[in-house]
């Protein structure tokens, strides 16, 4: 029963990792850009939720109604300016630029809001949970986040396969030059993909703030988890990211159950083992491999 609870907690946290990771996966899949500032942008979403929404007379639970549109727009603008500029140089530059952004964002947040932890206030909901058996606790927040993750992945998949814009995104992702020859404006398509990715980043950042405390430095460690989820699940597969996130969550919870010190370590070991044994991941294609 103890182990069953560990498993349940792993699946729950895995849902969050998948939500965090799908933007990373989308940005790489379409733009071939690894956004090293991905985690920090989620943290920014958390700060916007905490410090902006109360001014608008909105409860923080509903902050996503404001933050997600802001990030969708910001994603498009950032893509069409800074990120496109670095893509035009070479992939190497995108890494340097996004890493630079990451460090700048983190230290700016530190200077403005100090290193104190913040949470997105959701009232009583934080403490409520469902327990179907004596020692199994399913927190409503975590369950909600898992639900949102599955919903977001489902909608993304639906969007990419059923709509015209979605088909254009896939066409540009598969072969940019061929899509361009067929008349696709790839810069605009890149912008659309980036705004989708940023919308999920905003959701992930708010979800994180509801689940636990965050600080300016929370971005880095979450980027690592998201990245591990993507690689474990398989680069380029959205549902693979969900499986990868859950596998990572379970590994971490099992590690933590043995010794709290082993929580993150167990996830890293799973990641390195997948890299050694099945580098394309569980559901992946071999696109990112050397």
């Amino acid at each position: 029963m103890v182990w069953l609870n560990v498993l349940v907690q792993g699946v729950l946290i895995g849902g969050f990792y998948a939500l965090f990771a799908c933007g990373l996966s989308l940005m790489f899949g379409v733009l071939k850009v690894i956004n090293l500032a991905h985690g920090d942008m989620a943290v920014v979403a958390g700060y916007v939720a905490v410090f902006l929404t109360p001014h608008l007379g909105l409860p923080e639970v509903w902050s996503f109604l404001i933050v997600v549109p802001i990030f969708t727009l910001a994603g498009y603008v950032l893509q069409r300016t800074l990120i496109q500029k670095s893509i035009d140089r070479d992939p190497f530059t995108t890494l340097l630029v996004t890493f630079g952004l990451s460090v700048v964002i983190e230290n700016l947040l530190l200077e403005i809001y100090s290193a104190n932890g913040q949470t997105v206030n959701i009232g009583d909901l934080i403490a409520k949970s469902w327990h179907p058996a004596s020692i199994i606790y399913v927190s409503y927040v975590s369950l909600g986040v898992l639900g949102v993750a599955v919903l977001v992945l489902f909608l993304l998949q639906l969007f990419l396969s059923k709509t015209g814009t979605g088909r254009l995104i896939r066409a540009v992702a598969d072969d940019r030059e061929a899509a361009q020859l067929s008349g696709a404006n790839y810069r605009h398509i890149f912008g659309v993909a980036a705004s989708l990715a940023f919308a999920t980043v905003a959701l992930a950042g708010i979800a994180y703030g509801m689940m636990t405390q965050f600080a300016p430095t929370s971005g880095g460690v979450n980027l690592l988890f998201a990245f591990e989820a993507v690689v474990i699940g398989g680069i380029g597969s959205l549902w693979g990211t969900l499986v990868g996130g859950i596998a990572l969550g379970i590994a971490q919870q099992f590690g933590a159950h043995i010794n709290v010190q082993y929580q993150v370590l167990a996830g890293n070991v799973l990641f390195l083992a997948v890299l050694a044994i099945r580098p394309q991941g569980l559901f992946g294609r071999k696109t990112a491999l050397a």
Binding site: L82, V97, V104, E111, Y262, L265, L272, P279
Partner: protein
Amino acid sequence: MSESLLNPSASGSTISVRRSTHSPLITLVGASVVVVVLTIAPWIFPAQFASTLMNFFILVIMATMWNLLAGYAGMVSIGQQAFVGLGAYATLYFALKGMNPFLTIPFAALVCAVLAVPVTYLLFRLRGGYFAIATWVVADTVMLIIGTIAFLGGGTGRLMPGLQSLTPAQTAHYSYLATWIVAFIVVVGTYLLLRSRVGLVLASIRDDEVAARSAGAHVRSARRLVFVIAAAGCGAAGAVLAISQPFVQPTSVFSLQWAAEMLFVSMIGGLGTIEGPIVGSIIFFALQQTLQQQGAWYLIIFGTVAVLVALWQPRGIWGAIRDRFHTELLPVGHWVSEGPAKE
């Protein structure tokens, strides 16, 4: 120093190939003066300045190694702090076993080099950004493992033994000299490496990897060698860092800040040049000393400048100077010019 490659009869001009843009004698004399001044620095400058100079050397070592990885071998690593930390802890371990901390430095570098070899077999399966984040995962993993070892102080860290018998002035002088010697070896070693056959392979990879491969260059082994050398260099930097601190703590020696600093310094100074990381380090320290009362602002400004440089001046400050004045202090490539050789 020069050779005529071909003599096109149509124009009647010759093409000459030279290494130096000026007489190597000037470089040699200039370098000798700098070396002498830096060697006696702790005796002629105030202690505070010598201590800043020591931190400057540590950054020069790291940035030179990062530049070798990224600027010459095309590998963006944001996990070099793995080897900085490992070097620091290797020194701590040997010192706890009774060795003189200063004598452990080469062994710390060796430990890092040996450990880097299996790491390359894992990491070289990924490329580009995935390689970059995976290096960070490795650094995080190493930090977490070190944090579980009680003998090394676990998560809280441990004081470096073997320095307490020295007077503070002696400690300062010896650590300064150790850091300076390591920095000297790293910069000169990198210079010689890049002028060697390996340097030629690296230049060919940088220019066109596919062409280099098809011409028979051992791309992967050249990259592996560079990764191992960079690990050793960062390990040595970690070792001198541990001695200068001298309290060794996982979160500080494995800090991502090292990766950020080496990246920014190399980029601003100029990737793919020997002088770039040194120029970048000078600017970094000037900025840090000026803004040291303002918290993290020096990092914010420096990061912003690095992003702008990457977008609009990717060859960095030294690259711009070189392109404008056609001058190099430590040439590793060749200059091709029309007309008869001048030397």
